[in-house]
Symmetry: C2
Amino acid sequence: MSLLVVGWVAFDALETPFGKVERTLGGAATYFSVAASFFTHVNLVGVVGDDFTRKDEDIFKGRRIDISGLERAAGKTFFWAGRYGNDPNDRVTLATELNVFSTFRPRLPERFRKSRHIFLANIDPTLQRSVLEQIHGRPHLVGLDTMNYWIEKTPVELREILRHTQVLMINDAETRMLSNEHNLLRAARHIFSLGPRTLVIKRGEHGVLMTRREGGFFAAPAMPLEEVFDPTGAGDTFAGGFLGYLASCEEVSDAAMARAIIYGSTLASFAVEDFSVERLLRLTKDEISSRFNEFKKLTHFDVV
Amino acid sequence: MSLLVVGWVAFDALETPFGKVERTLGGAATYFSVAASFFTHVNLVGVVGDDFTRKDEDIFKGRRIDISGLERAAGKTFFWAGRYGNDPNDRVTLATELNVFSTFRPRLPERFRKSRHIFLANIDPTLQRSVLEQIHGRPHLVGLDTMNYWIEKTPVELREILRHTQVLMINDAETRMLSNEHNLLRAARHIFSLGPRTLVIKRGEHGVLMTRREGGFFAAPAMPLEEVFDPTGAGDTFAGGFLGYLASCEEVSDAAMARAIIYGSTLASFAVEDFSVERLLRLTKDEISSRFNEFKKLTHFDVV
């Protein structure tokens, strides 16, 4: 089944201890789409400016990504510049220019409106809401990302979209901020009362913790890597692997959710090996299977 | 096989968001012994003052803990006072009084000198070394803990004891400090060049990462808990469950090491549910098995 994603397509300028790049394709919707396309067909909705070239577009070609919802507007594409230190968590934002995104209102092509799996990447909750209003019928699964800015500035709008969200995917700090609870279990319970049935807490180098309203936890460490070349987009790549795999499943069982967490972690572990989606573009299905199995070695033990 | 532990036996004054206690039994050797005694016989070496009562001693009774190496000295027992905030990682030390520990020189009773499994808790590397010098023959496994203070103040002595260490058990910050490497894989490689064959990185609420010189990783999350009532001693309890289980094994295979990590994590998850070793004293073998299996549910996934 196809998976709709709405979010930023961006140009990034990045500096990490391993290298520097002046202009590379980025944005949540980019990372998400490329990751999810390994598992399912993706419908992308976003906006780019007139600096977005045919070559940039080619990144989506030859993959199961429909970019007919990628609007072209006059002006420059969203731009983000950031620098990372030796600790990938130490990120300094050097520039954020909304550009064409500042007036963007998502418009879904007619055939996207039947989407049953939807990912609303981290954008204004009002825009996230407007996407759902264009959907015909009731989707199976709405995944949502947000950030401290929206939690603080637009709490009412955020609560409204959370009522329509099944899977919330945020980091520990956002979980605590949204719930006003330090303990993640109590934080999760609070969040379940707002709408979501599943909370996926992204913990960067410490991996992921998933918990569900009906109870139960699933935790996955991050794959230990020699070099985190560029951590940009790891969370969105995770979301793409996670929801892409789920969209490809007949039924969303607990077992499928656990595998989805591992597929998301697998894709994210590749994404950080190079700038932008470079590593994902070179990625093969065999490499995915092989790293999926490495996760098994990393975490499984036997009971004597 | 019996397991020798040398370290602090202490009185702690603790304040957590859940309660307050003026004087309770603490110290690495205490937590370690009680945890390890679920799996093997423990020989404890340490020192207490004349404020250490029969009632304090009773904690070790009825367990497989031999305290004939627990020296009584004139003066007060080592004392530590600390306060925790809502984030269990935010710990403020209010007082540290070495007391009788300041002149302590470990003296092993003759029958302890044949120990094949040894845990040198976090004390002066020179004292740790003096313990090994009293051991007859070559031990199977020496586990070691240390801290930023010794890494900084006694680097030469620490390197000497590391040459005789098989399993180093420290936290992420100590791993980075000891190796001068931010990346944990490169940090581990550096540490292997100093002696240890196995590095167990304790990451608090994020669990544990084990890596071995021959390659390979094993990661375990911490069990998500509603309340971390008192995090004091979690790391030493982990070490007790880990080394206690290993000392009970015929052979130290990769599979046994992985199970040991889970037993250590299991014991630590109980220890933090109450002050001091209170929860461990009430703990049953059935509860251990049951939480061990919860770890399986928390981390295992199937490959379709």
